[in-house]
Symmetry: C2
Subunit: 167 residues, 2 copies
């Protein structure tokens, strides 16, 4: 071994960051971090007898007001029956309204009511607070790397959906 360059020097020639041990650490980090990622909204949702699925629906409706059910379906990656159950309760509770499409009357366009927007804000604030603290701790360079790795970890369709949401 002529040049056994150890450490995680940024040269890129060293492949030590691709060892099974390093990968396992990353896998476990994802597992533990995702728990933290969802912990705060979960606590709020539990009090309202809602779940993560409601959070996700509300998040993406807020993100893209007027989105269709089908669109939401492909982003969330669940079956229409599963999404429909969630949407029904949200509509029933007055957090979401569904408008028949003008151009294509088969489509239902989804919007948050004021009440829905209020819930979304509460959940987002909690989740962003943790995210902000983590970003601040880690610094801007780390955040760049964080996003880069996450993006590379996505399925191709999800990467497309993610890119689309960023436009």
């Amino acid at each position: 071994m002529p040049e056994g360059r150890t450490g995680q020097g940024y040269g890129g020639e060293s492949l030590l960051f691709l060892t099974d041990e390093q990968l396992r650490q990353g896998i476990e980090a994802m597992f533990f971090a995702y728990r933290g990622f969802t912990a705060d909204p979960d606590r709020i949702l539990a009090e309202l007898s809602y779940g993560r699925a409601h959070h996700r629906a509300v998040h993406f409706i807020n993100r893209s007001p007027g989105t269709t059910v089908n669109n939401l379906l492909s982003i969330l990656g669940v079956t229409k029956q599963s999404l429909n159950r969630v949407l029904r309760t949200l509509i029933g509770d007055g957090l979401v309204i569904s408008k028949v499409g003008e151009l294509d009357k088969r489509e239902r366009h989804l919007y948050l009511t004021d009440q829905g927007a209020a819930l979304e804000a509460t959940l987002s604030d909690a989740q962003r607070a943790r995210m902000r603290a983590a970003y601040k701790d880690a610094g801007p360079e780390a955040v760049q790397g964080f996003k880069k790795v996450l993006e590379a970890m996505m399925d191709a369709d999800m990467r497309r959906a993610y890119a689309k949401l960023r436009d």
Copy 2:
């Protein structure tokens, strides 16, 4: 604003990486990436009529052979009833064995059988393959940042558990 340094320069003075928009992108990246993260093992598990909970149990038993039920409980962050349901099927299927503790006979120490180790390897290989590809794409610097942000995102107890696993 005297020095309005734009971009994500690594100076650290610019706080543009802490805007709500940047945070939301990170949140969505976590959501989509976690889906990719679990997709490959999920496919394998579905064929065996196992679920993610089985994967997690097998992973951490492989990681720390001889670990006790209580220990596993605190790492996984679920109730003993939930874990027990999973362990019962794994033991019944001959993937895990539970040995009464020698020093403290109340404790059960958990080990993978050869068959259990084989499943763990199959699942790990799939998950590591995606992780490796993502790491390779993103590069060692990005990976460092990735881990740094994830660690900062964990709850304090999880960070401790994570650190302990790395010793």
